[in-house]
């Protein structure tokens, strides 16, 4: 849990607090997870809520996208994937759909590794959208990004993940 909290908030002390708060919440209402599949699922769900609340709290407002760290989001990178016509230089391989449990686990590990390779702010926007399930409009607002920049960052994150996972996938059974 702590590992994931860290991936989201980037401040160890804060991540620890959030995890601790989540665990306390779980312990206070041990019966509340009835109907949820497992205790771990329930813990992670609470942690997500805590992190989402933290993002929505007023003191979060000043945490905005800083251009120095990763450059201007309007500056689209990843262009080297394409030729002048905007077609893929190299054929995009087909991924094996991970149907078996072990394949899903393998793929999740690859995805986590690749997430760590993304620039921190890009990863945060991606996690807010895809892990926490924030709407893009809310992410833009919280981070003071324009809708266009938000779109670009998410696109860049997804393409970065896709490329990284393809590269890592050789040898782990993701690529046929």
């Amino acid at each position: 849990m702590l590992r994931h909290a860290l991936m989201m908030v980037f401040e160890p002390a804060l991540a620890e607090d959030l995890v601790q708060e989540s665990l306390v919440a779980v312990l206070e209402k041990p019966d509340a997870h009835r109907g949820e599949s497992t205790l771990i699922t329930w813990c992670i769900a609470i942690l997500k809520h805590k992190i989402a609340d933290w993002y929505r709290s007023p003191h979060q407002q000043r945490r905005v996208w800083t251009e120095t760290e990763e450059g201007d989001p309007a500056n689209d990178s990843g262009d080297d994937l394409y030729d002048e016509q905007g077609s893929y230089k190299e054929t995009v391989p087909c991924w094996q759909q991970p149907e078996k449990r072990e394949a899903q686990r393998q793929m999740m590990i690859v995805m986590e590794t690749c997430l760590k390779s993304l620039p921190a702010q890009t990863r945060r926007v991606f996690m807010m959208r895809e892990w926490l399930g924030f709407e893009t409009t809310e992410i833009c607002e919280r981070l003071s990004l324009s809708a266009e920049n938000c779109r670009t960052v998410l696109h860049r994150a997804r393409m970065g993940l896709r490329t990284c996972m393809t590269a890592q996938g050789h040898g782990t059974g993701i690529i046929q």
């Binding site: 849990m1 590992r3 994931h4 599949s37 497992t38 205790l39 771990i40 699922t41 992670i44 262009d79 994937l81 394409y82 016509q85 905007g86 077609s87 893929y88 054929t91 995009v92 391989p93 087909c94 991924w95 759909q97 449990r101 899903q104 686990r105 793929m107 999740m108 590990i109 995805m111 986590e112 997430l115 991606f126 996690m127 959208r129 895809e130 892990w131 399930g133 709407e135 893009t136 779109r151 998410l154 696109h155 997804r158 393409m159 993940l161 896709r162 996972m165 393809t166």
Partner: protein, 78 residues
Amino acid sequence: MNILYSCKRAAELLSQSLDEPLDVVDSLRLRMHLSMCGDCRNVEEQLNLIHKMSPNLGLLDLCEEQQTDSPTNGEALS
């Protein structure tokens, strides 16, 4: 292929479509591009899979750990 968007533009729209509905023209042109372009269909599938997997980040390996204690509790992600 250019009239129907480049692969680069198609990828942007594929990503955008995971966050918000595309307008009719974009959506139509994207569908037409995809129908003709295997690369972009693969990209579409990969982006969809990433989208589908993301909410479960953090669950899988934890479930595995838990499974060693109690094998019956491992169905969270199935």
